[in-house]
Amino acid sequence: MSRSYDILMVGIGGQGIILASNILGEASLIEGRSIRGAETHGMAQRGGSVEGHIRIDGKYGPLIAPGTADLIIAFDMLEALRYAHYLAPGGNMVINSHVVIPTSVFMQGATAPSKEEILARLGSGRTICLIDADHLAEEAGSLLAQNVVMIGAASWSMPIAAESLSGAVGRLVPKKTIEINRKAFELGRAAGKRCKEGSKET
């Protein structure tokens, strides 16, 4: 039985995970491959922790089991740690190097782990690529393009051609933002390449 390539995207409602999932789906269609996805919709999105499951070459159910994701794309470091146990041994993580502290932490006077603590807890057994997606998205022209930056950065790990991914970006983003998103994809891809070549944070 041929295995699917399983990608878990995690972040906070409003960060654009649904569009990112659609881009991966469209890219798979461009390559004539089957795909399954599942994501958080509805009120759970309102600033809450959200997840998007994408199974390239998937033919059955859409949900990825803990310990079996080939790739985790995390839009927030705290969410990366929350879902890190989903990663399969030898899997990759591409993480946006920012933390949005949950409002409840401030309200309760509690503390959230710092970036350094999160990195330490993510441990050395995983291949991690930290990307400053907020900065790269702004460089591309809009903070909203951070989801496309993340896909660009993670494109090195996926079994999908970069041309298919950028083609899907062109098909799915609003017309007047195509240029911004193309640039966001390229900046993300370049940052991901620096990771691949051994730089820790780009």
Partner: protein, 589 residues
């Protein structure tokens, strides 16, 4: 024919268009809402479509269109079917002329629901067919074919996708949209449409006579299939069938159930060929009960012997665990994992600038020992702010409040309900409370939209599902017409007026209504309303933390000082809370 990567609900909408479709009604509810949202936003609509005021209203409208010969779709979430249960049960008797498909979306694990009820039970109860898709492609195909099934047997059909169908995505093969207009025509037939006892007894008999034919037809259509491969069998339904298929070993027989009622003869024949059978389904043991009735001496594993949980949703991994417990080795194993412990949670939260937050804040200030029944909507999140004490079902904030008041409980009862929920099921409760002399305050949180499910318009919005302008209903006039003498409308961003209105209402007898009105902040942003952001002057900030306790996601701590981040929408409520005047409008430098 094209292949597209579609959300389950979009695949369902596209399937209906291939039927063809003439009439669409529904009330929003996760995970069902996108079907109508997609159908109402298509540029070319050759069908009538409405967001109805509630599910009973929606189903009765759709039933009428089906009586007039049109193909009608009615969508809702599972608990909406409770509201529509009254017309549902008797529509099975009257039957239909045009196809009537009732999409009732179930929510195993209650991702966004108050319970985990199983719509298949309603289909059994009403004795009507139920289609239960296992994949998005099947959801598309079943939605397309359900209308002709309904017409073939002149009976309403329940179409029951679950959250993991509605809100999953997959590559879906689409056919051509079919445009085939049918003008509605009502042909009088009192024996069918007037269910007086003499008529309904005959109709009930006819309904029962249809059953064996329906069972055979569903089997012939291939919704229920079986493959004999060994001495042990797994039977699965809905999306659980997809989970099973991913990990089914080659020597285990497999039966997939996608439609009800199940033909018992066919089922029994298959089951009795095996030494042991495992039934895997989400929620109620509908298939398992059918299997047990025909199994004879074949042992059956499932919910009733504790192998499969009654509650929650399944997954491929959960199914693997169940198989293992039952002595079947799954084709794939899953590792044990440990999630990172003690991380701060990130639950959903009311938006920055949401009008509900200052109302909850003020309720807590004015009614320190108050009892706060609430309702279904974004504002149920007021639980986090200590301002929601009960939530049970649509409209029940008002009736629970009046019931508490009549019980002799002496604390002030202050109920909250949204505009859409009030119109859905709140009005009879308010009428009843006034009529029977309850003492309570009702706050209508009026943001002029059905926000939680994705901003569907309702009668307060001033436009229909298709964007056609309509006169917005006056909540003030409605409440007064119910007999409420004290109706006050306030701006929830104006804390002084809001709290003064609450204090005044407290002093009065009977049922008092306060309408707090501001547009949903998401809609306001989309409409281009920019109020300008606020900022904290760190030199004036005394680090008292009162603004932080307000719980707005735009307020953070930078060190010990408050800080306003770029989520700020400019409502200005925090500036009114700050006792030292440290918060003011942002000054551009």
């Amino acid at each position: 024919m094209t292949t597209q990567y579609l959300l389950g609900n979009e695949a369902i909408a596209r399937g209906c268009l291939e039927s063809p479709l003439h009439f669409v009604t529904g009330y929003p509810g996760t995970p069902s809402s996108e079907v109508i949202d997609i159908l109402r936003s298509l540029p070319e609509r050759d069908y009538y479509i409405e967001w109805s005021v509630n599910e009973k209203v929606a189903l009765e409208n759709a039933l009428a269109a089906a009586w007039c010969g049109q193909r009608a779709l009615c969508t809702m979430k599972h608990v909406g079917l409770n509201v529509a249960a009254d017309p549902l049960m008797t529509s099975a008797y009257t039957g239909v002329t045009g196809g009537l498909v009732i999409m009732s979306a179930d929510d195993p694990f209650a991702h966004s629901s108050q319970n985990e009820q199983d719509s298949r039970c309603y289909a059994l109860f009403a004795r009507i067919p139920c289609l239960d898709p296992a994949t998005i492609q099947e959801a598309h195909d079943m939605a397309r074919d359900a209308f002709s099934l309904s017409e073939e047997f002149s009976i309403p059909v329940i179409f029951r996708p679950t959250t993991r169908i509605c809100h999953s995505k997959g590559d879906t093969i689409l056919g051509e949209r079919v445009i085939s207009p049918r003008k509605g025509e009502f042909h009088k037939n009192p024996q069918q449409y007037v269910v007086i006892p003499a008529h309904t007894r005959v109709l009930h008999k006819k309904l029962n006579q249809k059953q064996p034919l329906i069972k055979k037809a569903l089997l012939a259509k291939g919704y229920n299939q079986a493959r004999e491969r060994g001495r042990v069998a797994v039977v699965a339904s809905g999306i659980a069938a997809s989970y099973v298929q991913e990990i089914l070993p080659p020597d285990i027989s497999f039966m997939k159930i996608g439609a009800y009622p199940i033909d018992e003869e066919w089922l029994g024949e298959f089951i009795r060929k095996h030494e042991r059978v495992l039934v895997i389904e989400e929620l109620h043991p509908v298939v398992e009960e059918a299997v047990r009735q025909v199994a004879g001496c074949v042992p059956v594993h499932g919910k009733k012997d504790g192998m499969v949980p009654y509650e929650g949703e399944l997954s491929t991994m959960a199914v693997a665990g169940i198989m293992q417990k039952c002595g079947i080795t799954p084709a794939r194993s899953f590792p044990e994992t440990v999630p990172a412990g003690d991380l701060p949670g990130r639950p959903p939260i009311l938006c920055a600038g949401c009008m509900h937050r200052p109302v909850f804040y003020s309720m807590r200030k004015v009614f320190k020992d108050g009892i706060f029944p609430s309702d279904i909507g974004c504002y149920t999140l007021g639980l986090q702010l200590g301002a929601v004490d009960t939530t049970i079902c649509m409209g029940a904030s008002i009736t629970i409040a009046s019931g508490i008041s009549h019980s002799g409980e002496e604390h002030e009862v202050v109920a909250t309900i949204g505009d859409s929920t009030f119109l859905h099921a709140g009005i009879p409760g308010l009428l009843n409370a006034v009529y029977n002399g309850a003492r309570m305050i009702l706050i209508i949180l009026d943001n002029r939209i059905t926000a939680m499910t994705g901003h569907q318009p309702n009668p307060t919005t001033g436009e229909t599902a298709c964007g056609i302008a309509t006169p917005p209903v006056s909540l003030e006039a409605l409440c007064r017409a119910c007999g409420v003498a004290h109706v006050e409308t306030v701006d929830p961003y104006d804390l002084t007026s809001l709290q003064a209105a609450l204090k005044e209402a407290r002093e009065r007898l009977g049922v008092k209504v306060i309408i707090a009105r501001q547009p949903c902040v998401i809609i306001a942003r989309r409409a281009g309303i920019r109020r300008g952001r606020f900022q904290v002057d760190p030199d004036t900030c005394t680090e008292c933390g009162l603004c932080i306790k307000f719980g707005c996601p735009a307020l953070e701590k930078a060190g010990e000082k408050a800080y306003i981040n770029d989520l700020c929408s400019g409502c200005g409520v925090c500036a009114q809370i700050c006792p030292s005047g440290a918060i003011g409008k942002e000054v551009k430098r």
